[in-house]
């Protein structure tokens, strides 16, 4: 596969390390009263869609950016590649 890195352009997927569903960005609040359940779902349950999937890739052999790749899990077509840091901020993560 080829991942079109937002900064570096097309790079072979073998330069990257895969983590999983981009929902791993949405880490629950540790002080929430349902934190135990929230962290269980965050850590263990997945949509695992057959179709569009937002997922985290780390450019291990490249610029060390974490990327959010939107990819179809049935065709492998890639629709969008973003810097995970931007996505995280857009999803309201800060410090």
């Amino acid at each position: 596969m080829i991942i079109n890195h937002p900064l570096l352009g097309p790079r072979d997927a073998s330069e990257f390390t895969y983590l999983g569903d981009a929902s791993l960005i949405d880490r629950p609040d540790w002080q929430d009263e349902n934190a135990a359940d929230a962290f269980y779902e965050y850590g263990y349950l997945r949509d695992n869609p057959a179709g569009k999937h937002q997922e985290l890739w780390f450019h291990e052999a490249g610029d060390r950016s974490w990327l959010v790749v939107t990819r179809d899990t049935t065709t492998h077509e890639i629709f969008k590649v973003e810097l995970a840091r931007d996505v995280a901020r857009a999803r309201g993560r800060s410090k």
Partner: protein, 981 residues
């Protein structure tokens, strides 16, 4: 032996004669031959034996689709089993042998299977060999396995080298026949960046096999001229002897270039083959088509060959399979072969054409509406029996029969991403479907365009479309544009032992049986009969079998199914995929800066990840590793020892939020750590298990140096970047690895300070008062070299770690040894390190096994609940906090000399010894020269409350049972007085 089947003309170098051997007989040939054409030239028709019935086999084709003519090429360590004679380029001294026969090719004992073929019908083995149960391994299977397989491996390491390479292009053209060449000319002249790859050693495809003309030249000359023009273009790369084996995601193609297979011996340093990963914007498949056979009784005899192959042998290689040839065809193309052979003086016994209206305007006999109903000749064809329309039969005397059943487009690569071909009524064949790999288009015969003119035209058009060219297309040379004229005809009515898959011996009868037993989908058919599973991947058999299945089912072929293809297009040596990554180069080797010093000292090394670390340093006279290790431990604890700990991961953490960041990634607190101090850090995974541990030294308010275990350096860095970029993107923190920049040495033992005081420059006071336990800081050594000093201890002794720039590591180690002489300093390796950390009760790799929590390791209290940190919440799950969870304990044999085995399980002293009564297990075990006893660490149910308890350590795997006592994990200096001294 003379080449008495050699004809005139051809594209071989007759001025040079080379010698080769087949089954230990010498023959001659010419450069430009393949082994197949050379064997035919020398009148050798019998080349191998089939898989199941060991039927005599000759050549069926002239290309890479060959199922029958497979041999063991070369000898010794370079022996290549199952090599297609049709793709072996002739070289002087070539040596090949037939395979899957015993005692000889002509007299093969297992040919007896053929007599019992009725009992060996498709899938028969699923229905028997079941009683008694034990007999399968003992009796039946050994017999089957002995008969299994075709060629044999040399069992020696492959001595050749292989490379991998990476190329990028705008347009990859796969196949250099008429459509491929025309596409390349079109794209090349337009200035596009083009790669043209073809599996053959001579570009031109069918153009080299035909006698018709292209423009005002004969076909092969036109091809040669096109190739000449292309090779002069800087923007076009020609890759001959290069098979594109697969279409992978996003326009990546795998290609195998055979750079050395046509040479008797490889030049030094040159690879035998190169695996290319070709990154393309667009790709164009011009792979041509494969002629398909017709099934008839005994259609598998040596001498029965595809008609188009006979034409290739005659026109390109100037060879005929026999001086007397008959043709069996259902289409006009078969007649071309007759005409070409006739023109070269070969006797045409007759053309048997199943069509009543067969063209007859030729000067040899054509039997219209006739069919071949049987053949004769044990080791090679002698006669064919023909049924004439009037019901009479006729026997034709011939040594070769050319068979033409029409053409199948080579759609293989269009299926590699699950695309399915579609049925074309006009061609009675599958053509590429709509669901092609992204960026791939298809031209020429591969796309069902069967005439030469059509191929040239679609090549030009497809290239232009792929590249969105606007300029005018090049003018096409005139070429034949004959329409396809054929009558669908798959097999001769009533035939039984009519071969479809000639290598695996799958016949029409087997397909019918498969249907009868309910194996009716193509997938079931293939799996049940093994059709198409042979080394030729069913290139000549799949479609015919499908047609027969359709007929039995009374369905159309497309209703019955389609056959799709997976990579590789043709089989590829496993070594080609491995490339240079083998032997010592399998993984990179990482060496510490003082590696060569350690080698001088005679150190024994051990692999730790990709690192090589000194395991121990034997002295003259030490005969057993234990002697060395015990000495290193004693000397270190008695005075001072030095250990190379460069391999520990080091991560530079800077930024105004550096402390806050570490507070998140470590379970314990870091906010309040003072500058100039170091702290042990416990890192959890989000699931609450311990991920890694190390130390974090605060060099400044906004600057930490973090260490990780050697094994986890990479994953911890990745994890920290995840936390930084994905979880807390607005923290001001910057990370970078400095593992390699610093050579770091643990200096441990009561005299470690004294030794370092001779190294560290005097202006730096490292006394216990100013540089106490867990202190850290920048210093200079040896008269001004910048260095870092940490007062941390893994051994439990008074200890420091000193780091200098890597290029000085070797010198620093030598310096430490020299300056340490007065203290009887010793270098120590990973074994002594392990002994001392176990004596001290420090958890390490075997305890941090990914399934242990902080609580398991006796560090539950370190997980701060006053802050958010990775893993803290999920570490609170009930099952991880039950009263009897495993706890880290020390283990001592009741009698000290008794051995303790890591991996042994702990059982109560009485009661059964089985899994149900398992109490825990031993994680680490060593001999402690300090305690003069074997000791170990282990994880024991509710272990912290079981100190002093006697238990049984059992290791049935190593036949060991030992009475042990559960003790504190801190065997040495539990109060930690030494390391604070």
């Amino acid at each position: 032996m003379t080449q008495n089947n050699r004809l005139s003309g051809g594209q071989i170098d007759r001025n040079t004669t080379v010698n080769f051997r087949f089954d230990n007989r010498s023959y001659t040939a010419h450069p430009g031959d393949t082994l197949a054409s050379a064997l035919l030239a020398n009148d050798v028709r019998l080349i191998g034996r089939s898989f199941k019935y060991h039927r005599p086999r000759g050549l069926l084709t002239a290309g890479s689709e060959e199922p029958n003519g497979i041999v063991e090429l070369r000898t010794g360590a370079r022996k290549e089993p199952n090599t297609r004679a049709t793709t072996i380029e002739m070289f002087d001294g070539l040596e090949a042998n037939s395979q899957n026969r015993w005692p000889s090719l002509k007299f093969d004992a297992l040919a007896v299977n053929d007599l019992f073929s009725n009992f060996l019908s498709a899938g028969f083995y699923y229905k028997t060999f079941m009683w008694p149960a034990a007999f399968w391994e003992k009796v039946y299977e050994p017999i089957i396995r002995r008969a299994a397989g075709l060629g044999s491996l040399s069992m020696e390491a492959d001595p050749d080298e292989y490379d991998k390479g990476f190329r990028h292009c705008d347009l990859l053209i796969i196949g250099a026949g008429p459509s491929g060449l025309m596409a390349a000319l079109t794209a090349g002249r337009a200035g596009a960046d083009v790669i043209l790859a073809d599996e053959d050693f001579k570009l031109g495809g069918r153009l080299n096999s035909e006698t018709f003309s292209v423009g005002d030249q004969n076909a092969s000359d036109w091809a040669a001229q096109a190739v000449a023009e292309l090779s002069a273009m800087p923007n076009v790369r020609l890759m001959t002897r290069t098979t594109v084996i697969g279409a992978f995601d996003h326009g990546i193609y795998g290609a195998v270039e055979r750079t050395g297979d046509h040479l008797a011996t490889l030049p030094v340093g040159k690879p035998r083959q190169i695996l290319w990963r070709i990154y393309t914007k667009k790709a164009l498949l011009c792979a041509g088509a494969t002629e398909r056979p017709i099934a008839f009784e005994n259609n598998d005899r040596p001498g029965i060959i595809m008609a188009s192959a006979l034409r290739t042998y005659a026109n390109r290689f100037a060879v005929t399979a026999s001086q007397r040839v008959a043709i069996f065809t259902n289409n006009d193309d078969g007649h071309r072969t007759a005409a070409d052979l006739h023109a070269k003086g070969v006797h045409i016994s007759a053309v048997i054409d199943v069509r009543e209206d067969a063209p007859t305007n030729y000067d040899y006999e054509v039997l219209s509406g006739a069919q071949v109903i049987d053949t004769k000749g044990r080791l090679g064809l002698t006669f064919v029996e023909v049924a004439l329309p009037d019901g009479s039969t006729r026997t034709l005397d011939c040594g070769a029969l050319g068979v033409s059943g029409g053409w199948n487009p080579n759609v293989h690569l269009t299926c590699h991403q699950r695309g399915r071909p579609v049925w074309n009524e006009d061609l009675d064949a599958f053509v590429p479907g709509s669901n092609l790999p992204v960026g791939l288009s298809v031209a020429g015969a591969a796309n069902g365009v069967m005439s030469t003119h059509g191929a040239l035209q679609s090549g030009a058009n497809s290239a232009a479309e792929a590249l969105e060219l606007t300029n005018a297309l090049p003018e096409l040379p005139a070429a034949e544009d004959a329409p396809v004229s054929q009558k669908p005809f798959w097999y001769v009515e009533g035939c039984k032992r009519a071969w479809l898959d000639q290598q695996n011996d799958v016949t029409v009868k087997d397909v019918k049986l498969s249907y009868q037993e309910g194996f009716r989908s193509v997938e079931h058919l293939k799996r049940y009969t093994t059709l198409g599973m042979a080394t030729d991947q069913g290139k000549t058999s799949n479609i015919s079998a499908l047609a027969i299945m359709a007929e039995v089912a009374g369905k159309s072929i497309p209703e019955t199914g389609t056959t799709i293809f997976r990579p590789p297009y043709t089989p590829v040596p496993i070594a080609t995929f491995a490339g240079r990554m083998k032997g010592q180069e399998f993984h990179p080797t990482r060496l510490t800066p003082s590696h060569y010093w350690a080698k001088e000292r005679g150190a024994v090394f051990v692999e730790v990840g990709n690192w090589l670390r000194a395991q121990w340093f034997p002295l003259p006279g030490e005969t057993h590793w234990r002697e060395s290790v015990d000495r290193e431990v004693r000397q270190t604890r008695a005075s001072v020892g030095v250990c190379d700990c460069t391999t520990l991961g080091k991560i530079d953490v800077q930024g105004t939020d550096a402390a806050a960041f570490l507070n998140r990634v470590y379970a314990n607190g870091f906010a309040k750590l003072a500058v100039g101090k170091t702290r042990y850090g416990l890192m959890l995974r989000e699931d609450g298990m311990v991920m890694d541990d190390g130390t974090a030294a605060r060099l400044a308010e906004d600057h930490f140096v973090v260490t990780t275990t050697t094994a986890n350096a990479v994953s911890v860095y990745r994890h920290m970047e995840f936390v930084r970029q994905c979880l807390f993107p607005d923290m001001d923190v910057q990370l970078i690895s400095t593992t390699e920049a610093w050579a770091q040495y643990a200096v441990a033992g009561p005299n470690s300070r004294k030794l370092l005081q001779k190294i560290v420059d005097p202006e730096f006071d490292i006394s216990n008062e100013t540089f106490p336990f867990m202190a850290c800081g920048n210093v200079t050594v040896c008269g001004g070299l910048r260095a870092r000093l940490f007062r941390i201890s893994f051994s439990g002794e008074l200890a420091f770690e000193i780091a200098v720039p890597s290029r000085y590591g070797d010198a620093m180690m030598r310096h430490l040894m020299a300056q340490g002489e007065e203290f009887d300093v010793t270098p120590y390796g990973t074994e002594a390190l392990g002994v001392m950390r176990i004596e001290k009760g420090h958890a390490a790799g075997s305890e941090l096994n990914g399934t242990t929590t902080a609580l398991n390791l006796g560090m539950g209290k370190m997980v701060s609940k006053k802050k958010d940190s990775i893993g803290s919440t999920l570490s609170e799950r009930e099952a991880l906090n039950e009263p009897d969870v495993l706890k880290l304990v020390g283990i001592k044999p009741v009698s000290p000399e008794e051995k303790i085995t890591a991996g042994g399980h702990l059982m109560n002293t009485d009661g059964p010894v089985d899994a149900a009564h398992d109490q825990g297990y031993v994680t680490s075990a060593v001999y402690s020269p300090i305690l003069n006893s074997n000791i170990g660490l282990g994880l024991l149910k509710n272990g912290s409350d079981r100190m002093g308890e006697k238990m049984r350590l059992v290791s049935p795997l190593t036949n060991l049972t030992v009475d042990v006592e559960i003790v504190s994990a801190h065997f040495v200096d539990p109060e930690g007085e030494r390391l604070r001294a």
